[in-house]
């Protein structure tokens, strides 16, 4: 349903000479390709600076790609006229990370949820009212809650309002940008279960952006692992348990603290930090931190290679893993 091919987003920066900065190009997303099928949840995982939120913004048409193509149901979105693009924008929705910043504090819940419906300019006031009444109950809140303001709700309830707003237009595709990272553990599970139920009923495709592989494993069908704007690996979440993994994916998994004191982990699975994106390493972008890196890794960038069974990896040493 969604096909992203060789997507790039480069920012030209003037630098801040008075602070010792130099002008240059920041390659936030540098050639990313993947597909999402109808009703599928694709995880997009990476550390801060990997470009995962920028990919989400391009799919939401909030920022145009520098290069590459995004197709929805076969239609290239960059070829759409303004009218058609607005209609598509209305059908592609988003749930943000922070339920405190993403709801307008001066709007009543009814108006917050109705806004995307009104933007479509297809429904009468009566239709909008009944849709909003339906959707608020769908996310486990009450019709009386529609008259309230966001500050009258807890974090988990606000995220339910954000979800109601996103699904009010019956979207085919929703970008979930860290939707539960700001929530407490005890309400996180409620919101995850709600998102999965809604998806099953309406066959919505999700792009689930997260840094938490434990949640991604639970929610997603497949995962794209991003590192410094490039795809390191694409695989089914069930394959995250196999041995043959990109060294970066392996390090991410090994870094998850296990909630079991009887299973103490090796203390530091990955040394160093994600490098400055203005000053990319030569060869494989992960090579400076990779325990397996050899000469070739520092010279040539590895291509994303099909290992079969939907498993793709960009690693020179994939045969030896």
């Amino acid at each position: 349903m969604i096909e992203v091919t060789d997507l790039k987003k480069h920012y030209r920066l003037s630098g801040m000479p008075w602070l010792g900065g130099r002008p240059g190009t920041l390659k936030a997303v540098d050639g990313v390709s993947f597909q999402i099928a109808a009703g599928e949840t694709l995880g997009l995982v990476g550390e801060s600076g990997s470009g995962k939120s920028t990919v989400g913004q391009m799919l939401l048409m909030q920022t145009p790609p520098t290069e590459g193509s995004i197709r929805f149901d076969g239609t290239e979105i960059q070829d759409l006229g303004k009218g058609a693009a607005d209609v598509l924008k209305g059908k592609v929705q988003v749930v943000f990370q922070d339920p405190y910043d993403s709801l307008n504090p001066r709007m009543r819940v009814r108006d917050i949820i109705a806004e995307p419906l009104r933007n479509l300019k297809q429904f009468s006031a009566q239709e909008i009212r009944s849709k909003v009444d339906g959707v608020i109950q769908r996310v486990g809140l009450r019709v009386d809650d529609l008259a309230k303001f966001p500050h009258q709700f807890s974090g988990g309830q606000r995220q339910r309002i954000g979800i109601a707003r996103a699904i009010s237009v019956n979207p085919k595709f929703v970008v979930l940008d860290e939707p539960v990272s700001a929530l407490d553990v005890s309400v996180q599970a409620q919101v995850i279960n709600l998102l999965l139920e809604i998806q099953q009923q309406h066959q919505i495709a999700y792009l689930f952006i997260s840094h938490n592989l434990a949640i991604v494993e639970h929610v997603c069908d497949r995962v794209v692992i991003l590192y410094l704007g490039k795809v390191a690996e694409i695989l089914a979440t069930s394959d995250l348990h196999q041995q043959k993994l990109h060294p970066y994916t392996r390090a991410l998994i090994d870094s998850i603290p296990v909630p079991d004191p009887a299973r103490l982990k090796a203390p530091v699975p990955l040394q160093g930090e994600i490098p400055d994106p203005m000053n990319l390493p030569t060869g494989c972008r992960f090579s400076p931190r990779c325990a397996m890196a050899q000469g070739v890794c520092r010279e040539r960038e590895p291509a994303l290679t099909d290992l079969g069974g939907g498993h793709w990896m960009a690693c020179h040493r994939s045969a030896e893993l």
Partner: protein, 330 residues
């Protein structure tokens, strides 16, 4: 081992337009020398206010009450005069906070900031040259590459992980007996989190520092801590060794937390979801604060506050339904 800190019946309340909020409402705990105590709880459970109360940095503006004892190396922190407290704060008890971008001074080099701690506590270190040596040693210890060069930089020139390393090195400058770390890895990526946790273990190993580590991440608790206090609505509802908390959780809230936490490699079809929302602290009644969400609550739970049930040594839980040994009647 010797007890370093003993907290008895600590209360911190605030006045708000909606009533008195009992942010910390009767906390008891003990910390031995070299122990890492984890405080786990959700937002609003009072874990950060408890830490601020121990350091006596609770904002004065809306403060209604601070009460209780906090015996630290033979002195009661709650009774100390401001001048005396200042000698403890940053020297004998140091703190690392969640966001290193806001805890560091943006217009001072990180090196100067580290040296400044020593200027406030001259009794902790003798001559000037040795202060600088100590700074470089500690920067090395927290694995900052090229310490001398980094010392000349300003916070904005460093990554989040590097800033947190600086904050930890700075906290260790005066060789504190107690380090309070309030969600120091929450803003960091998992790979960097693993590195920072190792620094905390290392501080304990090298300097014998005791640590109070505040977090909402049960994985971090399991991998780092010796003992755990679970907080809910200003109270410790369960306090035990890390093995006991994870193997035999007594309190229904602790059990619910462990079940609703997604664990990598243990995927279930539907996550166990705890009912309801965290309580509003301004409208708490007399009963157990968790009762409205508790699958095992009895009528009495809603009416009377639960008593502490001792679990050997100084540990305890606070559930009226669960009797002492963890076996919850089905």
């Amino acid at each position: 081992m010797d007890t370093l800190l003993r907290v008895d019946n600590l209360h911190t309340h605030f006045n708000t337009p909606r009533g008195v909020v009992k942010a910390v409402n009767g906390v008891n705990l003990q910390l031995k020398k070299g122990e890492i105590l984890g405080i786990v709880g959700e937002s609003g459970s009072g874990k950060s206010v408890m830490a601020q109360s121990l350091l006596r940095v609770v904002p004065k503006a809306n403060r209604a009450l601070i009460d209780g004892r906090a015996e630290f190396g033979g002195i009661d922190l709650m009774q100390l005069g401001e001048e005396e407290m200042r000698k403890v704060r940053g020297a004998r008890i140091a703190m690392v906070t969640q966001n290193p971008s806001t805890s560091l001074n943006p217009v001072m080099t990180v090196g100067d900031q580290m040296l400044e701690t020593m200027r406030f506590h001259p009794d902790r270190m003798p001559s000037d040259a040795r202060i600088r040596d100590r700074m470089l040693t500690l920067m090395n210890e927290v694995q900052l590459p090229t310490p001398a060069a980094i010392a000349k930089r300003y916070p904005f020139q460093l990554s989040g992980g590097m800033k947190q390393r600086i904050a930890i090195a700075m906290a260790l400058m005066c060789d504190p007996e107690l380090l309070i770390a309030d969600e120091p890895t929450t803003a960091l990526d998992v790979t960097i989190q693993a590195q920072i946790l190792e620094l905390i273990r290392n501080a304990r190993r090298v300097h014998g520092t005791s640590v109070i580590f505040i977090t909402h991440d049960l994985g971090v608790i399991a991998q780092l801590c010796d003992t755990v206090a679970v907080m809910y609505a200003g109270k410790i509802i369960e306090y035990n060794t890390v093995d006991e908390i994870f193997r035999t959780p007594r309190h229904p809230y602790t059990q619910g937390l462990l079940e609703s936490n997604p664990v990598f490699g243990k995927t279930k079809k539907t996550l166990h979801a705890m009912q309801g929302q965290p309580p509003d602290l301004a409208t708490l009644g007399d009963g157990c604060a968790f009762a409205p969400r508790c699958p095992r609550a009895l009528v009495a739970c809603r009416e009377r506050p639960p008593q502490r049930v001792a679990l050997g040594d100084h540990f305890h839980h606070a559930c009226a339904v669960v009797q002492d040994h963890g076996a919850v009647p089905a």
